[in-house]
C-alpha cells in the first residue's frame, strides 16, 4: 500500500516537472531561430540531443558566430554530466538490452533529480519514466511552438520561465539538504566552485568541475 502511494507521488512530481520544465522549450525554439537555425534544425536537436543545456549552448555559440567545431565541443562538454547521472541511475533503473537504448535518451538533469528524490527503487523508476515522458513530449512541442512563433512570442523571460529550471533543481535537492549537513556542505561547495570558475572556463566546464567537491567530501 505504502509502496503504491510512493509511486503515485513520484509519478505526480515527474509529470509536474516534465510539463513545467518542458515549457522552457519555448525559450529554446525561440533562441535557436534567433541564432539563425531553421525550424527543422531546432526540432531535430530537441528530438535527438534532448538535453537542454547542450542545446542552448549550441544555439548560443552559433548565434554569437562562434566556430562550429568549438561550439559542438562546448555542447558535448555540457552533456558530460549525463554520463555521471547514468552511473548513478544504472543500478536503480536496471534497464538492459533494447530497453536500455530507449532509457538512455532520458538520462538528463530533471529525470535524475526526480528519480533520486524518491524513497525506493520502484518509485524512482516510476518517477524517471513519468518525468521522461512528460518532458520529452512538452519539450518537443514547445520547441516547435517557440521556433514557429518567435516573431510574435517576444521574450519568454517575460513569463519568468528562466527561474523554473533553478527552482526545480533546488526543490528536488531540498529534502536531502534538510536531512544531511554533509550534503549541505557538498551542495554549497559545488555551487561555489562552479561560480568561481565561470569567468575563466568555457560554458559547461564549471558545472563538471563542481564534482571536485565530491572528492573533497570522500577524502575527508
Amino acid at each position: 500500500m505504502e509502496e503504491t502511494s510512493h509511486r503515485a507521488v513520484a509519478i505526480r512530481d515527474g509529470l509536474g516537472v516534465g510539463v513545467a520544465v518542458g515549457l522552457a522549450g519555448l525559450a529554446f525554439g525561440a533562441a535557436a531561430v534567433t541564432a539563425g537555425m531553421s525550424i527543422a534544425q531546432a526540432c531535430v536537436l530537441s528530438l535527438l540531443a534532448f538535453t537542454g543545456a547542450s542545446q542552448f549552448a549550441l544555439a548560443g555559440a552559433v548565434g554569437a558566430g562562434g566556430d562550429l567545431a568549438a561550439s559542438a565541443a562546448g555542447a558535448l562538454l555540457l552533456g558530460g554530466r549525463n554520463t555521471l547521472y547514468g552511473l548513478r541511475l544504472a543500478g536503480l533503473l536496471r534497464a538492459n538490452g533494447p530497453r536500455r537504448l530507449v532509457v538512455a535518451q532520458g538520462v538528463i538533469d530533471e529525470t535524475a533529480a526526480v528519480a533520486l528524490a524518491q524513497p525506493n527503487p520502484a518509485a524512482a523508476r516510476a518517477g524517471f519514466t513519468a518525468t521522461f515522458a512528460a518532458l520529452y513530449l512538452t519539450w518537443n512541442l514547445t520547441t516547435l511552438g517557440g521556433a514557429v512563433g518567435t516573431s510574435f512570442l517576444g521574450d519568454p523571460r517575460v513569463l519568468g520561465l528562466d527561474a523554473v529550471g533553478p527552482a526545480t533543481f533546488l526543490a528536488l535537492l531540498w529534502p536531502r539538504l534538510t536531512r544531511s549537513a554533509e550534503l549541505r556542505w557538498l551542495a554549497a561547495g559545488g555551487a561555489a566552485i562552479a561560480l568561481a570558475a565561470t569567468p575563466f572556463l568555457p560554458p559547461g566546464v564549471p558545472v563538471l568541475l563542481s564534482a571536485v567537491a565530491v572528492l573533497v567530501v570522500m577524502v575527508r
Partner: protein
C-alpha cells in the same frame, strides 16, 4: 563544418554520453569508491547548475534581480513546505512580476 554537421555531432555525442554511464560494466558500478562518488555527484552537479543558471549570463557572473527574487520566493515556499508544483509556480510568477514592475 556546416551547421547540419555540427547538429549531427551534438545529437550523436549527447546520446553516447548518456548511454555510457548506464552501460558501464557491473564491476565498475559496484566498486565502493565509484558507487559512493556516483551517489554524491548529482548533489554537487545540481547545486552547481542552480548557481550557474541563477548567477551567470554568457560566461560572466551577473545577478538578475527578478530571477533572484523568484528563487528567494521559492526558498520561502520550500521552508513553508509548499508542494513541489506550487514552488515552481511561485518562482516563475515572482520573477515575471518583478520584471513587470522593474520595467
Amino acid at each position: 563544418m556546416t551547421l547540419w554537421w555540427a547538429i549531427a555531432v551534438v545529437c550523436a555525442g549527447c546520446y553516447v554520453l548518456k548511454l555510457a554511464g548506464l552501460a558501464a560494466p557491473r564491476w565498475v558500478l559496484e566498486h565502493p569508491v565509484v558507487s559512493r562518488f556516483a551517489e554524491l555527484v548529482p548533489v554537487a552537479l545540481l547545486a552547481a547548475l542552480v548557481a550557474v543558471q541563477m548567477f551567470s549570463e554568457q560566461g560572466r557572473l551577473q545577478v538578475d534581480p527578478a530571477r533572484t527574487a523568484g528563487l528567494a520566493a521559492a526558498v520561502v515556499a520550500l521552508l513553508l513546505r509548499a508542494p513541489f508544483l506550487v514552488v515552481l509556480l511561485i518562482a516563475a510568477a515572482i520573477t515575471a512580476l518583478v520584471r513587470v514592475f522593474s520595467g
